[in-house]
């Protein structure tokens, strides 16, 4: 299994591959992942130029551990096959497939990726996939998409196109995404993959961004798509367990392990009733804290 399947992905920052100034050093902002975009941000007559930039950036720039995800062009375009070839030849970490509407869409890209791995001598399974759901049909089919490939690490909501398909607009309240977010996080958890929220494009409304990010964290999402470095720090703060949460999780894990050995199923921690049902959540908090570099305990 690819060890990066479940890596920490609190923030995924979009960067236009056509802009050398953007892709040369985004690691200084320390996002968990960067999204090198060959799709919407790149003008139709610059698709070729963006690929050369991408290839050399992947080969020559040390992104210092930041995950390098590439958003390719959709299956409804003439560009995706060459996009997959350059992604594999350049050895990116993951490919984001846009406008996914079915499991077959993912399988089609997976097959092209396998062919490219063969062509360029790249180890099979070393590049992961994620799917962006951007239509009502895609969201309806979220569960089958989440189960489509062992290389698929997650799904992301793409709000701009989704609201167009829904025949509404982005309101700023998030009401238009209520069902899609619920559907997607439920499907992702049922299938055991990660789930990422759409971008928040009003850079002047940091309070709104923080409120939305707190909400999607509470819903269960793993991270958020980012369009500006200013959004990274608040996102990481929201998605990183607090000291209080870590201490509580540590107590629960230790107590459950201890009480289980004694045959005790229900007990109290800091005056609150705890049973085995709290264990996975507490373990996840510890794992997240470890991945975020804020846990130095012995669990």
């Amino acid at each position: 299994m690819n060890p990066n399947l479940n890596r920490l992905r609190r923030s995924m920052m979009f960067l236009n591959c056509q802009k050398p100034g953007l892709i040369k050093d985004p690691y200084i902002y320390k996002p968990d992942s960067i999204m090198l975009d060959l799709e919407d941000a790149v003008a139709e007559n610059q698709k070729d130029a963006a690929r050369y930039s991408l290839y050399h950036a992947l080969q020559e720039i040390d992104y210092r551990g930041v995950e390098r995800v590439v958003r390719i062009n959709g299956l409804d375009t003439p560009h995706w096959k060459e996009d997959v070839r350059v992604c594999v030849a350049g050895r990116c970490d993951s490919i984001r497939i846009p406008k996914v509407e079915s499991a077959q869409d993912v399988v089609t890209i997976e097959k092209a990726m396998e062919e490219a791995e063969e062509e360029f001598g790249v180890e099979k399974g070393s590049i992961l996939l994620m799917a962006a759901l951007e239509s009502c049909k895609g969201v309806i089919n979220a569960y089958e998409i989440c189960q489509s490939s062992p290389l698929l690490f997650g799904v992301a909501l793409s709000g701009g196109d989704y609201t167009k398909d829904l025949q509404t607009t982005i309101s700023g309240t998030g009401v238009e995404f209520t069902w899609a977010r619920g559907m997607m996080i439920n499907a992702a958890r049922a299938a055991g993959v990660q789930c990422f929220d759409t971008v928040f494009t009003n850079l002047d409304d940091m309070d709104g961004f923080i409120a939305e990010t707190k909400m999607i964290k509470a819903m269960g999402f793993d991270g958020k798509s980012i369009v500006n470095p200013r959004q990274i720090e608040p996102t990481h703060k929201i998605f990183t367990p607090t000291e209080k949460e870590i201490i509580k999780a540590e107590k629960i894990v230790k107590e459950v392990d201890e009480k289980k050995a004694l045959g005790i199923g229900v007990f109290t921690v800091d005056g609150k009733m705890i049973d085995i049902a709290f264990y996975p959540g507490a373990k996840r908090t510890i794992e997240l804290a470890k991945a975020a570099g804020v846990y130095e305990g012995d669990l």
Binding site: K19, P20, G21, K24, K47, D48, A49, R51, Y52, S53, Y55, H56, A57, Q59, E60, I61, K81, E82, R85, V86, A89, G90, F120
Partner: protein, 99 residues
């Protein structure tokens, strides 16, 4: 590879380079314009020439307007211009002539 027509890649934005190739008959005729020509002129020339050599371009007029591009960007813009001059956008030799 032969440069079959005039083609350009890149922009005049900071950190980028605009590379223009035209058909030639007298080897590589390279012109470089850069605000850092005194510090990096030789390096820019070497990168452009190496890239052209990998692409097997033997005759061309090449103009580079550099705006502080990294090596990787210079290579990308030279390749972009040369392949555009041949109308090639698919089945590119990633890891071969492009590397």
């Amino acid at each position: 590879m032969e440069v079959k027509g005039t083609a350009m890649a890149g922009t005049l934005e900071s950190s980028d380079a605009q590379v223009t190739v035209e058909p030639g008959t007298n080897g590589i005729e390279l012109t470089i314009e850069s605000s850092v020509i005194n510090q990096y002129g030789r390096k820019i020339r070497a990168t452009v020439m190496e890239t052209l050599e990998r692409l097997d371009v033997k005759n061309a007029k090449v103009t580079v307007v550099d705006k502080g591009a990294l090596d990787c960007t210079l290579k990308a813009r030279v390749e972009g211009a040369v392949f555009r001059s041949n109308g090639i956008t698919e089945n590119l030799p990633w890891g071969g002539a492009i590397r």
